[in-house]
């Protein structure tokens, strides 16, 4: 189940952040898009309804949303960073190198590996980033 706008707003409040129209707009845009969006793309989307919102506010809001784990950040080669709403348990990505489609997936737990790494290196693992790059069905067929 994906996070709802309502829950995201509540989480902001809980952590002492004000619920401004701008932040609502960003949340709405993220929550209503299945895609990963770059800050600029998100800005364009938000501006459709709220033309005065600045790109800087997008950056600032994303920073908060990522900190509260309400959105997740994607790093895929090249100039990176795009964002999408966080889906609990779905923190891995499958990225098409051709069309850029992103599929989230879950069901693979890295806990065992994390423990081994802790024993061997003393690293206390806080998070991970697992991304696969490939070519999606469509792109493979439309050669």
């Amino acid at each position: 189940m994906r996070l709802t706008k309502r829950k995201m707003a509540a989480a902001l409040r809980e952590h002492g952040y004000k619920l401004t129209p701008q932040r609502r707009a960003v949340i709405t845009a993220i929550a209503s898009s299945p895609d990963h969006l770059t800050p600029t793309a998100l800005h364009r989307k938000v501006q459709q309804d709220h033309p005065t919102i600045g790109l800087v506010t997008i950056y600032r809001t994303l920073e908060i949303l990522v900190k509260l784990e309400l959105t997740c950040e994607l790093h895929a080669g090249g100039s990176c960073r795009s964002y999408t709403i966080a889906a609990p348990g779905l923190h891995h990505h499958l990225i098409c190198s051709d069309c850029g489609e992103v599929i989230d997936f879950s069901g693979y737990y890295l806990a065992e590996l994390e423990q081994r790494l802790y024993r061997e290196t003393g690293f206390e693992i806080e998070g991970h980033l697992l991304e696969f790059i490939g070519r999606c069905q469509n792109c493979r067929q439309n050669v």
Copy 2:
């Protein structure tokens, strides 16, 4: 066993790239550093011995080295991209969120998961990026 400078140079040749002094210098710098270096850091290092080499050449050379899989690219939160010599079979990273230390590790194969993803989504997987973020032993102790 890590790649030697000699092998990297040979690989360049094999693929029809010229072996210029600048490229030698970049290869030397990468091969002799255990750390992941950003393009800028690499530039500084190279300039110690070859002050005239431009940053653009660093970027261009890195592009080739990554394409030939002689170096690997790291994406770790924030403004990303750093590079290190590729160690065959060691394509995963353990990054300290505190001091930035990077440990490569291997021994965990994602082949099984890749096959499952192929069956379920039709994605033909070409590569992956697995990175753990955490705090290294030192940073945990020196609170």
